[in-house]
């Protein structure tokens, strides 16, 4: 064994090898390392020093390949590999993790091993660019999905409107009968208007130029009025004005607050069984006014709860935001936050859901 060892040691990287590597290496942006059969580094270029986090003054010939700041398995492969290999690794470049690709090639001359060539490619930027591309692609897909949802949500009220008008045209409804349905048609037009408003607000929000129209109003009668116009079956909705609330003056955009609450209440109605109660509580909590909407529906799993407020998020592929193009809760939360408040949800499978809107209270002079 010792004889063979001695023979192998006598075969080494030649001066030509090293000067060629140096000529190339100094101008390369990828790291280049030449090591002898003993594992000692004979040459490394500036890019390699940078990638390894070694000082540019570090001297070749004194460092072993095992000092390369990479996992142990890779270090072992430097010593044992008989063939070329490529691996994706994380380099600890002076305390900073660098994603890199390592290409290893044993060098031989006349059938004898003379050393190895190691190339290091910095993958940080490539991987970051790939991640950006993935995000952009996902965003694109989400926008396409939202287009489908917009079309779907608009088609409901349009179907009702076109249906009644067709019945009138076909003479199936007299003008008098048709007039009896006008409130339904107005409700459909309002729904279309709300959908368009949601789209406009979402676009404005994205451009950072959504402006609130603030006025001072009392939240208690406001919520009462809203619930009345939403024409819920009395048996299903209960309004609780918590003790001590009395007057709840807020400085807010009433149209936007209505849209937030309408969204939340509509969801509660749609997602809870008929005959169960929806409790709307208006209260003063600290320096905030709070409107809580609690339903006795199937509840929302924790994982879905998180998705709920994302743009275009509909839980479990079902229709989540009747007036919202899958934008409803996303926009509602953003609107609440623009007011200096918030919209949050608490739920669990089988426990019903509670959505809470908070708004800062106006200081009474």
């Amino acid at each position: 064994v010792s004889t063979i060892d001695r023979t192998e040691r006598t075969v080494e990287l030649s001066l030509e090898d090293l000067s060629l590597a140096a000529t190339l290496g100094d101008s390369l942006t990828d790291g280049l390392i030449l090591a002898g059969v003993d594992g000692r580094i004979r040459y490394l270029n500036p890019a390699a020093k940078r990638l390894l986090g070694w000082p540019s003054t570090s001297k070749e010939g004194h460092v072993d390949v095992s000092a390369i700041p990479v996992d142990r398995a890779t270090i072992r492969r430097f010593a044992t590999a008989k063939r070329s290999w490529v691996a994706e690794v994380t380099l600890d470049s002076g305390g900073q993790a660098t994603m890199a690709r390592i290409a290893f090639k044993p060098l031989a001359r006349g059938g004898r091993r003379v050393g190895s060539l190691i190339v290091l490619v910095d993958r940080t930027e490539v991987l970051a660019a790939e991640k950006d591309r993935d995000l952009a692609r996902e965003n694109d897909r989400a926008k396409t999905r939202s287009l489908h949802l917009v079309a779907h949500d608009l088609s409901g009220p349009l179907t009702v409107l076109k249906g009644y008008v067709a019945l009138l045209q076909e003479g199936k409804l007299s003008l008098e009968q048709f007039n009896g349905h006008v409130p339904v048609l107005v409700a459909q037009l309002n729904q279309i208007q709300r959908l368009v408003q949601t789209l406009l607000d979402t676009a404005r929000l994205e451009e950072g130029r959504l402006e609130l129209q603030l006025t001072e109003f009392d939240l208690v009668p406001f919520v009462n009025r809203l619930v009345a116009v939403m024409a819920l079956p009395e048996s299903r909705l209960r309004i609780v004005v918590a003790a001590g609330a009395g007057e709840l003056p807020v400085m807010a955009d009433s149209t936007r607050v209505e849209s937030i609450l309408r969204n939340v209440i509509t969801n509660a109605i749609k997602y809870s069984p008929e005959g169960t109660l929806i409790t709307c509580t208006v209260a003063c909590v600290g320096d905030h006014a709070e409107v809580r909407v609690r339903d006795e529906g199937p509840g929302i799993a924790p994982a879905d709860l998180d998705r709920l407020f994302r743009r275009f998020g509909r839980v479990g592929d079902v229709k989540m935001n009747p007036a919202g193009v899958g934008l409803g809760l996303f926009l509602s939360r953003q609107l609440a936050r623009l007011h200096g408040g918030d919209l949050t949800a608490v739920s669990g499978k089988g426990q019903g859901s509670t959505f809470t809107l908070t708004l800062p209270i106006c200081k009474v002079a």
Binding site: S155, V160, P322
Partner: protein, 120 residues
Amino acid sequence: MSIGRILVVDDEPDLRGMVRLILEMDGHKVAEAHHGRAALDYLNANDVDLVITDIMMPIMGGAELINALRASDDTANLPIIVLSASPHDVSNANLVMRKPFRPAALREEAARMLRTDARG
């Protein structure tokens, strides 16, 4: 004209109301459900001759409802019309109608389904 018992499944009450109005013009008996789960509950206790359903609904959508109906011996051959704005991946309905639809077309198709009711 065959008169039938029809279950209308849609999460929008105003849309259900209009479909009911259209179908009742021909004398059909109409029941309503606001999602697939409610429809299955109704069908457990009642016989119907035709189901007209939306696809995107909360709790249980139309595709899942149709699969459940097709999987049960009692309702495997029940005529089903899908009324949807985006009727994707609905292969096992008897007919797919796109929203918005013409009321006259819905009346004709409902009548045709009831005449050719496969259950005999």
